[in-house]
Symmetry: C2
Subunit: 372 residues, 2 copies
Amino acid sequence: MTTSFAPLQNDTFLRACLRQATDYTPLWLMRQAGRYLPEYKATRARAGSFMGLATNVDYATEVTLQPLERFPLDAAILFSDILTVPDAMGLGLSFAQGEGPRFAKTVRDEAAVNALAVPDMDKLRYVFDAVTSIRKALNGRVPLIGFSGSPWTLACYMVEGGGSDDYRLVKSLMYSRPDLMHRILAVNADAVAQYLNAQIDAGAQAVMVFDSWGGVLADGMFQQFSLEYTRRVLAQLKRTGVDGQEVPRIVFTKGGGIWLQDMKALDCEVLGLDWTANLGQARAIVGGQVGGPGKALQGNIDPNVLFAPPEMVAAQARAVLDSFGKPHTDRTTTGPTHIFNLGHGISQHTPPEHVAALVEAVHSHSRALRQA
Amino acid sequence: MTTSFAPLQNDTFLRACLRQATDYTPLWLMRQAGRYLPEYKATRARAGSFMGLATNVDYATEVTLQPLERFPLDAAILFSDILTVPDAMGLGLSFAQGEGPRFAKTVRDEAAVNALAVPDMDKLRYVFDAVTSIRKALNGRVPLIGFSGSPWTLACYMVEGGGSDDYRLVKSLMYSRPDLMHRILAVNADAVAQYLNAQIDAGAQAVMVFDSWGGVLADGMFQQFSLEYTRRVLAQLKRTGVDGQEVPRIVFTKGGGIWLQDMKALDCEVLGLDWTANLGQARAIVGGQVGGPGKALQGNIDPNVLFAPPEMVAAQARAVLDSFGKPHTDRTTTGPTHIFNLGHGISQHTPPEHVAALVEAVHSHSRALRQA
């Protein structure tokens, strides 16, 4: 593909992903296009349903850009869902009003596992078309992030049929028939890799793997059933985008802070962290030194901070920046860098003006931190 | 009080709590008296409700002993609920069928916080009477553990009014009005300390603080709003029981594995861990050396393992024992010890015969491990 896109005007996010020095700490917010924005709710109402929104290129483009109109965020992220891949496998994804995702079919026995295969990527054309449309609409303003659920996280939903409090069904299968679980995960990993590569071909400038449920696994099982298949995805990913630029790969395991020593070995550029992790300690483990190898860190303020008054939001944002410490500032080499984000998706109940306070605090304090 | 109880026949659990060598690794299971046992369901049906069960000394005694009739467990734990203290504060605890706990009154504003006080312990007499009754009924078979929710965990329920997916209300209060949250926690800590001391006076031989929701806090907030008040509880606890024996103190923070370096400083004998922690790494951080100081570790198999066939249950139990490694065996001094447990409460859907397989595997493999 030789699509030509407008040149990038704000490369702060991509530079930080690649451990290059930046003037300030870039930020974006997980689920930044979402229900806390009245304009999102209006578009969703027109679309009729969540899947109606996600599968329509114009709507997906519109909502992806909405938060950028309000806040000077440093990246956009494709508006979609982490469960599009199993939907394309024929499991029938739907979202009931006010409920989480649900699959019409589940994968709980050998016959269902044997029937699984990497889906025809044409069934996910609506996603790739949305990526291209959004990239064009961004017009070089900020980079566009593509994403997928991790093999393990997809498997959780495929086995459970939806969300779960205790992951009883998926863990029962894993502990009883590890062979079947490995087969599900192998299919998922290859599907996720093809899916992300197609997003890269469509114009994504960075990709992120959401291992939202890796943290529910026991030590030992996480390494075998989540991390190993994230590794398998990463090994298959394209390293350059349609414009010839390097495409950074971000891995976010919610609850994964306890396994940073294991995640250090992943072949990716950025590790995302939730709010339970201490960014300074994480930097010491995986952030590396100036001129040496390492990973950029992304995160990790508790989204619930955004319910506090703006001055409290700003204070907590400064505390998160301070916990990482001063990023490196040497433009001639690489070194420890931080991308500010929430530790998980933004709540639908968040007051948008508090988000504005967060963005302002991150940009201003992170500039000050570099002078300190 | 000078109640005289029968001499203890099986001190394996208490010895392991105090980092003394034992012939095998003792085990008990969080929520071992519960709905997975048909005999429990029969008693609960007679009692009419959960609180009817918990507040009746005879019923509470009966269900506490039920799992010991089935399995050679090494400790009994008082049958009660972690929320009895806020109930005694007048918040009105109830359990709807198939639902979690609910409070009739919540604590969300300054007036409600100001109205809080350490309750008259006479309102919790039913708990202390149950402790004495159970200790008598045990007749020295195994030690009896008393317990309470942690100050932070109680506060979560008091503010939310019940369970929560996102802890939005309690975290909003914490981030918006930290002064009010500190006042709630101070009252809770002093109430919990009095409550546990009264259990010790009634015959409890060890006490455990369940910080079930400490792990939802952000790094930095956990230390200020959970750990600090657990510390305040521990500082007030009696160190010897009615029979003059040392009463070990166990602290369990679900999701706390990432903060072991902070928890190391707690003045308690045992730290409980959930299944995300690696016991070998935890031992290296807090377990200490033979002859030196340290903490015993309790945990940490995933309760979902119990849905696998018995031979898989046994294999996973052995893996958990092996991850801790060989406990010290020098009877002349203290050293690293392990108390086997689940990483969280047992599921109501657990087949009891799988629990039998777990208990057998832990006892036999832990004896073998000591010979290795």
